[in-house]
Each structure stands twice: as C-alpha cells, then as structure tokens.
C-alpha cells in the first residue's frame, strides 16, 4: 500500500519514466493503480531520434512490470514522511509474519 499511496500523491506532477527496454518518456502522471501501472499525458520521448515510433502519441498507458525507474521531482517528496511510513509498513509486515 505504501508505494501505491506515494504514487497517488504524484498525480499531476511531471515525471520521467525509464522502461526496461531503455525507452525513456517524460510526461504528466495522470493515474496509477495497485500494480503500479501508470498513465502519462502529453508525453515527450527523450532521445526521440532513437525512438521515432511514438512521435504521434500524446498519452499512454504503461504496464507496471516494464518500468525500471521513475525520476521524480525532489520537491514533490517529503522524505521524512516516506521514511516514517516505511518504518510503519515494515513493523506491520513483521507483525504479520512472526
């Protein structure tokens, strides 16, 4: 749940997604689901000369499993909040397994 909630706070922010096939796309994050599938709008392909086949595409849906990275604006993140949420998540999962 942690990362799902985190991505929901990033909706309407500009992000850069790098896929496992090395394609890198920058756009506005419009939605996310439990599988971390993403929808981006008004995309720009980085290194467009190398990947010309998306030149007519404005919006896209990315399957979560093909994502390698998402570059996020530093200002969109509260690291203290993230760290505290992680500690709670780990504490909860340790409680479940033991």
């Amino acid at each position: 749940m942690l990362f799902f909630s985190f991505f929901k706070t990033l909706v309407d922010k500009q992000v850069t997604v790098e896929l496992k096939n090395d394609l890198t796309v920058r756009g506005t994050l419009k939605s996310v689901d439990q599988y971390f599938n993403f929808r981006l709008e008004n995309i720009v392909v980085l290194e467009q000369e190398k990947y010309p086949h998306l030149s007519a595409v404005k919006n896209l849906f990315i399957r979560g499993s093909v994502v390698r990275y998402m570059h996020i604006p530093e200002s969109a993140v509260d690291v203290t909040l993230l760290q505290d949420a992680t500690r709670r998540e780990i504490a909860a999962s340790v409680g479940v397994s033991s």
Partner: protein, 69 residues
Amino acid sequence: MSLDEMVFIKMRGDRELKGRLHAFDSHCNIILGQVQEMIYSDPDIPPTVKISPMLYVRGDAIVLVSPIK
C-alpha cells in the same frame, strides 16, 4: 534499518546505484534520493554515470542492496 543512509544497489543489466534510502517495501521497490547510476558495458570502457535527485526503482530488477559506510 538503513533508512536515510547511503546504500549501494546492484541491478540486473549491469547497473549499479548509490543513493540515500528513503523508502522500500517487501518487493524491494525503493525510493532513493541523491542518486548516482553506473551503467557498465565493456570492461575497458568506464561506466556511464547518470545523476538523479529522486528516483523510484522497481524491485523486480534489484539483485543486491547494501549499506555504504
């Protein structure tokens, strides 16, 4: 744990990351800050280095995570 500490991450595809660990889950999905990515190709060529202020890394590509002193 190593939260807010610098960690070293080895990934599939001859990639390595160094950065500050801000979040993770049981799948090893990670949020890293102040990140340096090293991409290795030929042994004689120095690795390609990329910087990112804040990065989400999907857990399924991660092989190893270790704290850095």
